[in-house]
Symmetry: C2
Subunit: 248 residues, 2 copies
């Protein structure tokens, strides 16, 4: 699937006129803590120059013979043990002088970053603490100033998440296998804002679509009537895929 350069360019230009790149991947990894209704993003602490002591998105440089997605998967595997994973390319940032380590001279190697967007289930994700490098789930609302321009990348990923919630069943990649309709509603409300829809209308609409299977199991969360646990039926959703706005 690559677009490729043209030989002409290779022929007509001295090779030194072309920029040399190292390519990095940076991952925006979201999760949701259903119990506390919080949208979380995974951050790691930097211990090296530059930006020592800043948090940043988990990333790495692409190695020989490794595809971009392989590299993204590799960082994830180093930081988190996870069974279920949704991964998608976000955007490529690649201008010159983006990294403080890029030399001022024009003839140095350049760093390009391909960002990926990932969703994981909170309960199934186990952070790998290696003792040295800090790693943590941050509530989106409390993310500090990050290294490089990772705040921008995070914003971009958050926008993508909101969009995807509206037309695709990504919510079920972050929710536990079974969940209450309240959990689902709270997730939507947390990500899209409290006023995105009335709970009872949201509920009625989604149930009518017929891809939520009632397990019959009830759970009680403190006071109030116990809620049914539902399961997402991917097969039943099939006909609705690539229809716009199903969830809103």
């Amino acid at each position: 699937m690559p677009g490729k350069l043209q030989k002409k360019a290779l022929d007509s230009l001295a090779d030194t006129d072309l920029a040399d790149f190292k390519v990095g991947v940076d991952n925006v990894i979201f999760s949701v803590d259903t119990d506390q209704n919080r949208l979380l993003v995974l951050l790691v602490m930097r211990h090296d120059h530059p930006y020592v002591g800043y948090w940043n998105l988990p990333g790495t440089l692409v190695r020989q013979g490794e595809s971009l997605e392989d590299a993204a998967d590799r960082v994830l595997a180093e930081k988190i043990r996870v069974s279920n994973l949704y991964l998608e390319q976000l955007y490529t940032f690649g201008g010159p002088q983006r990294d403080p380590r890029e030399a001022k001279t024009a003839y140095d190697v350049r760093y390009l970053s391909v960002s990926y967007f990932a969703l994981v289930r909170f309960a199934e994700a186990e952070l790998i603490a290696d003792g040295v490098s800090g790693i943590a789930w941050y509530p989106l609302s409390r993310v500090p100033k990050l290294a490089f321009d990772h705040n921008e990348i995070l914003d971009y990923g958050y926008r993508r998440l909101r969009n995807k919630l509206e037309y695709s069943p990504v919510a079920f990649d972050v929710l536990p296998d079974t969940f209450t309709l309240s959990d689902l509603y709270q997730l939507y409300a947390t990500v899209l804002g409290e006023d995105f829809s009335d709970y009872s209308n949201f509920r009625t609409r989604l149930l009518k679509l017929g891809f939520l299977e009632d397990t019959g199991i009830k759970v009680s969360r403190g006071a109030g009537r116990p809620a049914s646990l539902y399961r997402f039926d991917a097969a039943a959703f099939e006909p609705l895929k690539d229809k716009p706005m199903v969830f809103i």
Copy 2:
């Protein structure tokens, strides 16, 4: 806006373990011939190895000190003289062994392609024939087998175009400055399929939204009642931006 590598990776890995990249940009450039109601894509003929004699998307390799967008703009400027331009990043293709010229050994330079999506006004776009390399607008329905995996990139761009038509006013970037509502409708019908909407309903809905300004000027196209020329009022559209599905 770059995400960047981590120094740690630089330290703990020999530099030779990392892949070295050249980065190319490939542009999917769409235009619309209002007179013939055809959606067009810009292709250039290859004269060099590999894929000699095949058409491909106009692309180039990124030079020293040049941003990705600059490179995309540069190819465009070499192939086409255009006043108005909409440019947006599409996707990054970057696995190993994507280009036949990438050596079989693992330690060779890799080629990564960042594709861009562009829309230009047909009437205002003047193709630059340099005498040697062929260049042409191809109706989308008649695009041949392209070099590399450019057919896939084109498909991806076409999907993006269809999506954007539904919620964003990109149509006015490809239409002439003034246009009839028929032109607009035909564009939508050409891109989205004949059955996307009834003409009169499409018309009523768009006019009600209030961002189409009637210039009062009438044009006659053969037989039939002359049509009004409209102009897109970007300011009036502002409040509707990032509302979904405005055009459908």
